[in-house]
């Protein structure tokens, strides 16, 4: 790597704890920056602040951090796999699959799913997470079982988009037959939300996401060969069947599990890999996976900070922040990149 790019990478790594700390400071209760020096000097801090930080702010910041790492890596895997710069967690229908699961759970009052699940002694928030997981895994299962039969990735991409359309149509039908209270609950989920996860939920999320990130990195050499196309990759000794399976499983789990816990977070998965490619001017996946995760983490933490800015009681839905502040970045990157063209 060139020296300038090494410096970018080091800056991204050094700044990450700072962005993370900044995200902890912002929220409905304002906490001064001096709290960090107090903690480091073992000074006593107010009990309420202690609870707010350990039970609310740190879980929220970890959720934002891991979302920012997982979604771009998922998007990067899909872009390389489908040889298409527009691919991302939404495209395979994985995010919409999760919404379908949540919709059936929270909207399907008439379907009785809510009653069944809460009757089993599972709380509403866990019910939503399980429903979203089942939804995204169901879409993923359809894609995985179709992928050996569909030879070219373009067809698989179209199948993914079509599955997405079907699921969002079903969601619309469910909304039409639901009462306003149920719809409100579902809409709140679609706005995206990093808060409200307890430590058990966070450890389950990390327990799935971190191994998937590791698997993605372990595939980096084969992903580089895949850039030349499946036939060239096979000629270089890549086990294509295994790689396809690995990519689909890890890309789906990264996107599906995050969506289950936070709601659908738009744009990040598709856009961040392009920022990484433009800044680091490389196609080497060992660099792209690491830098996409880093840039994504910064970006989502920043978006979370912005969403807290109104202060006190209200916050802006995170999904609107990622789109409002992220989409212009993508447009800027497209214009800046040579030939004004996105590539995979």
């Amino acid at each position: 790597m060139e020296i300038s790019k090494r410096i970018y990478l080091i800056v991204l790594i050094i700044l990450l704890p700072i962005t993370f700390a900044a995200d902890i400071l912002f929220g409905s209760v304002s906490i001064p920056f001096s709290i960090f020096s107090d903690i480091l000097q073992y000074n006593t801090i107010p009990e309420t602040w202690h609870i707010i930080i350990t039970e609310l702010r740190i879980p929220r910041a970890i959720t934002a951090l891991i979302t920012g790492m997982a979604l771009p890596v998922s998007g990067l895997l899909m872009q390389t796999f489908f040889r298409n710069p527009l691919a991302g967690p939404y495209v395979l229908g994985i995010s919409t699959g999760a919404s379908l699961g949540v919709a059936i759970f929270s909207l399907g009052g008439g379907l009785g799913t809510y009653a069944i699940i809460t009757g089993l002694g599972i709380g509403t928030s866990w019910g939503m997470i399980i429903a979203a997981c089942i939804g995204s895994l169901a879409v993923m299962f359809i894609i995985v079982s179709l992928s050996p039969k569909v030879r070219d990735t373009a067809s698989l991409l179209i199948i993914g988009i079509m599955l997405g359309s079907i699921t969002s149509a079903v969601v619309s039908v469910l909304q039409y037959f639901s009462n306003p209270l149920e719809i409100q609950e579902f809409l709140m989920w679609t706005f995206g939300n990093f808060s409200g996860l307890d430590w058990t939920e966070i450890s389950i999320m990390l327990g799935i996401i971190i191994p998937m990130l590791a698997i993605s990195f372990a595939m980096q050499k084969s992903l580089n060969a895949l850039l030349l196309g499946e036939n060239y990759a096979r000629g270089l000794g890549v086990n294509i069947k295994r790689l396809r399976f690995g990519i689909i499983i890890s890309a789906s789990l990264l996107a599906g599990v995050i969506t289950a816990f936070t709601g659908p977070i738009g744009f990040v998965g598709m856009a961040v890999p392009h920022i990484a490619r433009t800044v680091f001017k490389t196609t080497n996946h060992s660099i792209l996976i690491a830098t996409s995760a880093l840039i994504g983490a910064h970006l989502v933490l920043l978006c979370d900070i912005i969403s807290q800015l109104p202060g006190y009681q209200s916050t802006i839905p995170i999904n609107t922040v990622t789109a409002l502040f992220g989409a212009p970045i993508v447009i800027f990157v497209i214009f800046k990149s040579r030939k004004s063209q996105l590539q995979y």
Binding site: N224, L227, L228, G235, R277
Partner: protein, 340 residues
């Protein structure tokens, strides 16, 4: 030593090979009982009209599809088409697929050739770097190493892919129509490069191509595929002399000319003309006349005559002489004569 070079050690062996497709309706055979061998340091060109099964053969040898029957051996080792890893140590391929990736440098792409030899991280050793540099030098792209691949011309891209194949360090390289989409100078240069590489590195090279005249000049041996007829093997010269070439490519509109090794278009001749003079200028004048429907005949008083000198063409007919300074003018003058 030269003596070592001329060993007839087979790198690739495919005795009794049947190729074709499995479909839901059954088996569609393309060619049966093929007996294929490629020797060390040999360049073999696979020729054949469209639809004769060249691609199927290439895909079968590359392990992209299973043979209907028979086995393929490389260096006496049976190839498992499913085991891409093992195959990648024996054979490198250059395909017709377009490389559309951005932000990838020539060096990065060529280094992918080391894929079968590096660990899971893909870290390149000093030996790997040396092999990449050597391959870049062999294809004449040393100065291009930091250029992005998508900024190169088609000919340069093809050289990059050949360098990748060299870097893979396999005894056998297979190329699927490496000269397609290239202009004539690039086609010649790529063919010449491959020939030189086979000679210098003792690697065996198999390539499919439509460039009959180039293949005749550079191939050590030719595999000639024909629709529903057996595949013919031999040196280009043998295949020309025993008439296989004429047979395989016979069409109404053109002939294969054994004397020159070229394909000649058959024009309908409606007029006769005689010609004499400087041999080289006469050769090209005849070509132009042929194209315009004139048959070259013995000199006779009833037909026009052209005398080709160092500087001009003199057309004589009915004791009238017209002097022309170019073939273009000559053709106009002849048309005038015919119009009378």
């Amino acid at each position: 030593m030269d003596a070592e070079k001329i060993t007839y050690q087979a790198i690739l062996d495919a005795p009794n090979l049947d190729i074709g497709y499995h479909t839901k309706k059954g088996v569609i055979p393309i060619a049966k009982h093929l007996n294929l061998h490629i020797f060390k340091g040999e360049m073999v060109c696979l020729l054949g009209p469209n639809g004769s099964g060249k691609s199927t053969l290439i895909r079968t040898l590359a392990g992209m599809q299973k043979p209907l029957a028979g086995d393929i051996f490389i260096q006496n080792q049976r190839i498992e088409p499913q085991n891409a890893r093992e195959l990648s140590q024996q054979m490198s391929v250059v395909l017709t697929e377009k490389i559309a990736v951005s932000h990838m440098t020539v060096y990065e792409l060529v280094s992918l050739g080391r894929f079968p030899h590096t660990n899971w991280l893909g870290k390149l050793s000093e030996n790997d770097h040396a092999q990449i540099e050597k391959a870049l030098e062999q294809v004449g792209l040393t100065a291009f190493r930091t250029r992005f691949v998508n900024t190169l011309s088609d000919g340069e891209k093809q050289r990059v892919m050949i360098a990748k194949a060299l870097t893979q360090d396999t005894p056998f390289i297979m190329l699927d129509e490496p000269t397609a989409h290239l202009d004539l100078p690039n086609r010649i240069e790529i063919m010449k490069l491959l020939k030189e590489l086979a000679q210098q590195t003792y690697k065996s090279i198999l390539l499919s191509t439509h460039e009959l005249d180039l293949a005749l000049q550079v191939a050590d041996r030719i595999w000639l595929m024909q629709t529903e007829k057996p595949l013919l093997c031999g040196t280009p010269e043998d295949l020309v002399l025993n008439g296989s070439f004429e047979q395989a490519f016979k069409k109404q509109s053109f002939d294969f000319d054994r004397a020159s090794g070229l394909f000649k278009i058959n024009y309908q001749h409606s007029h006769s003309i005689s010609i004499s003079g400087d041999p080289i200028r006469m050769f090209w004048t005849k070509r132009a006349l042929n194209r315009h429907g004139y048959e070259i005949a013995e000199a006779h008083t009833h037909i026009p005559h052209i005398d080709v000198s160092e500087t001009a063409w003199t057309l004589s007919y009915n004791s009238k002489h017209t002097e022309c300074s170019s073939i273009f003018e000559l053709l106009i003058a002849i048309n005038g004569v015919e119009g009378e």
